[in-house]
Point group: C4
Chain length 226, copies 4
């Protein structure tokens, strides 16, 4: 079942490794089929070089395994929370990509310091609050949803869980991987920029933030082909 989505999710997981966003088993990608309300996700703790399409796990919105011999990623409850609360989410990606994770470990949002950032995100990449550990993965999911809703769904396709790392969503799993890739580049640019300024953060002026975001994603966008 869902052979096409399984292939997409499989390839998205491999691309995370190719783009150097994930090493070892430090990440996972999933996609949802909104018609059947079934989610396809990477199995837990399987090394990427051994991963096969048929290892992808199919679960329902309660996390019950519908197809697959392996356990799904431990982060499944986080993916499900996003799918349940964000109707436009077609894919979710979690990585420990280097610089994005360093900002999360430093407990600081990734500031919007330039037009490269503004071409993708309308403002800073926010931090969630800390989850509780009693119902850990569900609590991470709740904090992520709370953070996304506070910042505005369309403008907030990526968040940082403090001390942990980035979670990203998109209209499908392939787009989510691209967003995770862009996020890592922006995190590294922000890092070196504040170093030059000895820790001071000079945020991009609102007028340029709006201009760049709108010329690419706004209703009168003129970047790219039709």
């Amino acid at each position: 079942m869902l052979e096409r989505l399984k292939k997409e999710v499989f390839e998205a997981n491999l691309q995370l490794v190719q783009e150097k966003l994930v090493i070892l088993t430090w990440g996972n990608a999933s996609g949802i089929d909104r018609e059947s309300n079934l989610v396809v996700i990477k199995p837990s703790g399987v090394p990427y070089h051994k991963l096969k399409v048929r290892d992808m796990v199919v679960v329902d919105m309660d996390g019950k395994i519908i197809e697959g011999d392996l356990k799904p990623s431990v982060d499944l409850p986080i993916h499900l929370a996003i799918y349940r609360n964000i109707p436009n989410a077609g894919g979710v990606v979690h990585t420990h990509s280097h610089f994005a994770t360093c900002w999360a470990q430093a407990r600081k949002p990734i500031p919007c310091l330039g037009t490269t950032h503004a071409d993708y995100f309308f403002g800073d990449i926010p931090l969630t609050e800390m989850p509780n550990t009693e119902d850990y993965e569900n609590s991470i999911g709740q904090q992520i949803i709370k953070c996304i809703l506070q910042n505005g769904v369309e403008r907030c396709k990526a968040v940082l869980v403090p001390g942990h790392g980035p979670f990203v969503w998109g209209e499908n799993v392939e787009k989510s991987v691209e967003t995770a890739f862009v996020l890592e580049q922006l995190a590294e640019m922000a890092y070196h920029t504040i170093m030059i300024n000895e820790g001071n953060i000079k945020t991009l002026e609102e007028v340029y933030l709006r201009k760049h975001y709108e010329r690419k994603w706004g209703k009168d966008a003129y970047y790219g082909q039709k």
Copy 2:
């Protein structure tokens, strides 16, 4: 028409990716044919791995499309401003290369800290003033021209637009790519150098700046073969 120039511009755009100056669609290169006053430029927002020679767009000096099925880069007005105001410009390159962009985001010129820099540029890589956003791309072009003329055309083959990134020109598009490549190396060297000095900038003495620049580019240059 202009098949040779189209091929040069196409290859220059690909080289930007190979040299890791551009990822995704974050950059563009163009070249001009001074006889016909026609400019060949990359189309807007097309991924590099899908780009073909025939996708290159031919425009006149007013930006009117003369040949090509795709929209030209949104930065076309910037390229045209340079071609109109700098008769020696045969090529223009814009990238978001990592360290050059970080200096632009930090709103600081790239300081000339060593002979590697002086071998290519006579002094710091300057920042333009901020453009207005009403006539955005034209305003960026004007600020770049203003900055180049203030610093001296021959000595100023690269500028940084604050919060955005580097723009480079050269006698042709291939040389412009090389200059963009060198700029990125110098930007990274300047970064690590000021870090060692805890933020202090120890500019290369004028006498060595002049010596290195002149031995390579001056009338009595003795670097390289005849």
Copy 3:
């Protein structure tokens, strides 16, 4: 003799180079056969690209060569100290991997700043005390054992020798290489994290440290497949 272990140790040494943990001759890996109490170790100062399986040196627990034409690594006494004092140690790896070595040179433990770290190590990677130089390699071994015992054997699979670099042990040589690889990633993450925080160290809260370590390695672990 011990052909299988020799092959494992050989491949582990090569993997150190492939994972960029070792350049030139800056590292060594060994494994022990607990039945015969014999250790297989890389020869001293042989470039990796010339290394062959048959170059591996077999020694007894006193360091006496049992098989092999080459001298064993100068660090052999350190490996032996670990095998003698830690019954669970099946492999030992020493590298000068970049960031782990920089923390050692800075004379600071690698702090646990995030869940990526907590997924592998229960707390900071400690520094040993300084060895004496009269009985140098034996003294390094003693300091490492002292440090591991103080921190708890199971929780302390890696230490830093101040001014020198990391030493790692594991249940076998392959696992030790993986631990050395993870250690380097954590060292680099910790580096960039404290830079963002201008030198301040915000250690991961105990509750998250415990949660992540236990969900992967504890008695009720639920990360990964059964």
Copy 4:
């Protein structure tokens, strides 16, 4: 003539590129034949991918071209100064390798912060004084010799020219390339180490410096094979 040396010098120059110590034309390597007192050096400003064995230039100790159609490197006088003053020098290498050049631009010696450094160099990598620009390349040569003699020939196989970059010598050109490679690794390690320590430099204690240097290069060396 000197076909074997020409091949060695050619390959050493290419290796500088492969090891990422040199980009574009930013470096040069030479070797000397002490019997004929002839030096083989890279030609000036020729891109490495176009370089051929027969392009190597043969000069005498006064810099007169004995064989070759191309002009020798502009740095030839520096190479000759080293060959004239250091009888053990069989090869000379100059690069603008990234971190070594950054230390030179920061006008600071590369401090000896660990045993990795002590395995190759007995103490800091010193800075020369500034050359004059009237007789520029000869003056650089003189400053390098002065610096090497002050620090002790055998202990000083690498120096930094302030604002410029590293110059290295060795018993032959191949060994000189290796030393230039090691120097770059040490320069990068020293960089990240002092960053962790917020600019403070904690030099390796003399007793460990001596121990590591002597166990590898001293009369009772026991590192490596016989």
